[in-house]
């Protein structure tokens, strides 16, 4: 019973973080901020869901190192790979002329490259 509560807490909190990210995307004004708010889902939402699955897996079929390693790979993948892709996408979106909020600070892509500084 306690395990179900723990797993429920983890998984539901993870799903709520994905929902927070979805709502933030509804409210975002321009493309770049929509890419930015994705981090709530990948940084916290998905790792919590995987953690809940890990707790449930440990509770039912006992502790297993291989599952722990796979879960860690999944969490690191969600956090790192998604950030790299979002960064890449944001730069591509800016350079391809997507309309951005004029209040975007700092905007180093707009300034001249500093030569030799």
């Amino acid at each position: 019973m306690v395990v179900t509560v723990i797993v429920g807490l983890l998984c539901l909190t993870g799903a709520l973080f994905v929902l927070v990210s979805a709502v933030a995307m509804m409210k975002a004004r321009d493309g770049l901020s929509r890419i930015n708010v994705l981090s709530a889902a990948t940084g916290l939402g998905m790792p919590l869901i995987v953690a809940g699955a890990l707790v449930q897996d440990v509770a039912t079929n006992g502790f297993d190192w291989v599952d722990l390693v796979k879960a860690l790979i999944a969490v690191l993948g969600f956090v790192i790979m998604s950030s790299v892709a979002s960064n890449n996408l944001g730069r591509a979106a800016y350079r391809s002329g997507a309309p951005i909020d004029p209040a975007t600070r700092p905007n180093e892509l707009a300034e001249e490259p500093r030569t030799g500084a």
């Binding site: 179900t4 797993v7 429920g8 998984c11 539901l12 993870g14 799903a15 709520l16 994905v18 929902l19 990210s21 979805a22 709502v23 995307m25 509804m26 493309g31 770049l32 929509r34 890419i35 994705l38 889902a41 990948t42 939402g45 998905m46 869901i49 995987v50 809940g52 699955a53 890990l54 449930q56 897996d57 039912t60 079929n61 599952d67 796979k70 879960a71 790979i73 999944a74 969490v75 690191l76 993948g77 969600f78 790979m81 998604s82 790299v84 892709a85 979002s86 890449n88 996408l89 944001g90 730069r91 591509a92 979106a93 350079r95 391809s96 997507a98 309309p99």
Partner: protein, 86 residues
């Protein structure tokens, strides 16, 4: 246990539907890529919860591979956005 899985899948479905609504209202490519990423993570979450409910042994293989491979769509679309340049 089924209540947990049903609740989580329900919340993820609401997030996916919100993403779809955003997809139809915002047409610029950056938002399309970002919202498609969100939909992808909702799908991965639902698959992991389904594997959890079924008690399958490959839950973490699916999660690990999904986190590694899944972002290629975002990288591909960002390359499309810049018309092939870096």
């Amino acid at each position: 246990m089924t209540v947990v899985v049903a609740g989580t899948v329900g919340v993820l479905l609401v997030a996916a539907v919100l993403g779809l609504v955003r997809l139809y209202t915002a047409r610029d490519d950056a938002s399309v890529a970002a919202v498609s990423d969100l939909l992808y993570f909702c799908a991965v979450g639902i698959v992991v919860m389904g594997a959890l409910a079924a008690g399958s042994s490959i839950t973490f293989d699916v999660a690990a591979i999904a986190s590694m491979i899944g972002i290629l769509a975002t990288i591909a679309l960002s390359r499309i956005l810049t018309r092939g340049r870096r």
